[in-house]
């Protein structure tokens, strides 16, 4: 526990409650996201994990049926006071199902920069796009052919393209929502390696119910169950927890 206090918190969530008219999705969640670590949020399907991620980059605001209360601080600032476009640039999100846009690989990666009105010279744009694709471990695999359609890539490549698309904006936090569940084992292995590499430069938030993946990459693990925050622990600590809920969840997940 001593060591944990030295690590900087980049996101602090306090009493976060999200509900619709008919049901409560998150019921008072308190948890912290630690800088340059892989922060994993585990829990059974339907426990509110994805909703939590969408609350962090204010994607949830787009759905007017959601009522959100509580505080989310990003670098000590309340996310409600940050322009959503700026926030989403700094807190990138990679979805469960790869969602490349039906345009070339190059345009997919450049999309975020263009839509945010970043004006760059052709060489600078080329450099940023190649660098992001390189960081996402995709550049060499494509053999420099960035003109092919993003939608024509394999599932694993599409997912890394979506990672590159988020990386090019220079985010501080990169969130992954079940990034490997739609992928085959080899493609999955590449994403695992990539997540490990990415935490050197970025803070990673990973939502998953895959305990194998959690064991491999997680530095801090948080369990959410039926919308409530239940338990947390560092990588090894979490798996040896004596808490009933953790034991039960682990036995069901494995």
């Amino acid at each position: 526990m001593e060591e944990k206090n030295k690590v900087e918190k980049i996101i602090e969530i306090g009493s976060l409650r999200v509900e619709t008219k008919s049901k409560v999705i998150l019921d008072g969640v308190d948890l912290n996201i630690f800088k340059n670590n892989v922060n994993t949020i585990v829990g059974p399907s339907g426990s509110g994990k994805s909703t939590l991620l969408k609350a962090l980059n204010r994607l949830l605001d787009l759905d007017q049926s959601m009522r959100i209360s509580g505080d989310i601080l990003f670098e000590k600032r309340n996310v409600r006071d940050i322009d959503p476009v700026e926030l989403r640039r700094q807190v990138g999100l990679v979805f469960q199902k790869p969602n490349p846009f039906p345009m070339s690989v190059y345009d997919n990666v450049a999309f975020g920069l263009r839509v945010q009105g970043v004006k760059l010279k052709k060489e600078d744009m080329d450099r940023l796009v190649s660098q992001a694709l390189g960081d996402a471990d995709l550049f060499e695999e494509l053999g420099g052919n960035l003109k092919q359609m993003g939608t024509s890539l394999s599932g694993g490549q599409q997912q890394r393209l979506c990672i590159a698309r988020a990386l090019v904006l220079g985010p501080k936090v990169l969130m992954f929502d079940e990034p490997t569940s739609a992928l085959d084992p080899i493609a999955k292995g590449k994403i695992v390696d990539l997540i490990r590499a990415l935490k050197q430069k970025f803070t990673v938030v990973l939502v998953t119910h895959d305990m194998g993946l959690t064991r491999k990459v997680s530095d801090y693990t948080n369990l959410i169950y039926e919308g409530k925050f239940i338990a947390k622990g560092t990588g090894a600590e979490f798996f040896e927890s004596e808490m009933e809920e953790v034991k039960e969840f682990l036995s069901e997940a494995d």
Binding site: L59, S65, V85, R88, R89, P98, F101, P102, T151, Q158
Partner: protein, 325 residues
């Protein structure tokens, strides 16, 4: 049991071919009825605009081997011009409105209000056209005649066709506006469907990269919904070309007088068939009826063609190149 099966199979087959048989037979009978006109008028049917049933109480005369009342002549240009101009005006008004409704409903409104709005738009499509026509006569025409058209004639007279006298509210403008009301639901529902068919992940992906609602709308429009917008517009155009009652009521239904300005009365092929049918039935040579049947053939050809192309383009789907995953 087996006999029952056979009867059932046969009757479903019979019912299944009814639409195709009906379409072909309607076209055949209408075309058949129009045959004398083609012999009588030939190509001049397409190149003239005067429509005169002739002297029906004098002995008929023989022209190109067919009997017709003396003095009869038939040209569809006035009606064709009216059909095209009212429909185009309707599209010019309806398309931007439909587009903005879609963007608003899809990207700005909460989902509960969205459902309400869409059902309202669908209800709009269910209003009988005669009701639109009545509204056009009672409400729209006086406004156009007293306020809108005189103002336009004064201030827009520098545009060719936009100057001149305003004689009444009936005509091209009223027809175009009424038609646009009738086709907005059609165009809107096609574009809304194409927006809805874009996967949620793609929309959220766009937002999560920092796109604003307007940018997402612009992107969905240009990348996903282009063909639906063209197709939906053509479907609306198909409807506008064939619309009869409402246009008949507000067009002014002129014959033999070409429009001189934007505010002139007009007439369309569909409206002309309805309004001229009564007198045509009294023509013992049936030439007058043949002329109206010929109008019907041309109208049917144009609106079927437009609808077919529209359906084909709209059905191409929003997601080409996206199903691959």
């Amino acid at each position: 049991m087996k006999v029952a099966n056979k009867i059932f199979n046969f009757s479903t087959f019979l019912m299944a071919i009814v639409p195709a048989v009906a379409l072909i037979s309607i076209f055949y009978f209408v075309f058949n009825e129009s045959l004398p006109l083609w012999r009588f008028s030939g190509f001049s049917f397409f190149t003239t605009y005067l429509w005169d049933p002739g002297f029906q109480y004098q002995p008929p005369i023989l022209v190109h081997g067919v009997l017709a009342p003396p003095g009869a002549q038939f040209g569809l240009d006035l009606f064709l011009l009216g059909t095209i101009s009212t429909s185009l005006l309707a599209i010019i008004i309806a398309f931007p409105i439909s587009f903005l409704i879609t963007i608003n409903v899809e990207l700005y409104l909460p989902s509960r209000i969205k459902k309400f709005m869409i059902s309202m738009i669908e209800l709009f499509a269910g209003i009988p056209s005669v009701v639109y026509g009545l509204w056009g006569i009672v409400v729209l025409e006086p406004i156009l005649f007293k306020n809108v058209e005189p103002w336009m004639a004064r201030h827009l007279s520098f545009i060719p066709g936009f100057g001149g006298e305003v004689y009444s509210g009936a005509g091209l403008v009223a027809s175009g506006i009424i038609l646009s009301f009738m086709i907005i639901p059609i165009i809107t529902s096609v574009i809304v469907n194409s927006f809805d068919s874009v996967p949620k992940e793609v929309k959220e992906g766009l937002f999560s990269l920092g796109a604003t609602r307007w940018e997402v709308g612009k992107y969905l429009t240009t990348r996903f919904s282009r063909s639906s917008m063209v197709g939906g517009t053509l479907l609306g155009l198909g409807r506008a070309l064939g619309e009869t009652m409402a246009v008949l009521m507000v067009s002014g239904a002129i014959v033999n007088t070409l429009p001189t300005s934007f505010y002139s009365a007009t007439n369309t092929m569909a409206a002309a068939i309805t309004s001229l049918l009564d007198s045509a039935l009294t023509d013992s040579t049936r030439m007058d009826l043949a002329a109206l049947a010929a109008l019907a053939v041309v109208l049917m050809g144009i609106s079927l063609g437009v609808s077919l192309v529209g359906r084909k383009i709209a059905g191409r789907g929003a997601l080409r190149g996206y199903e691959s995953d």
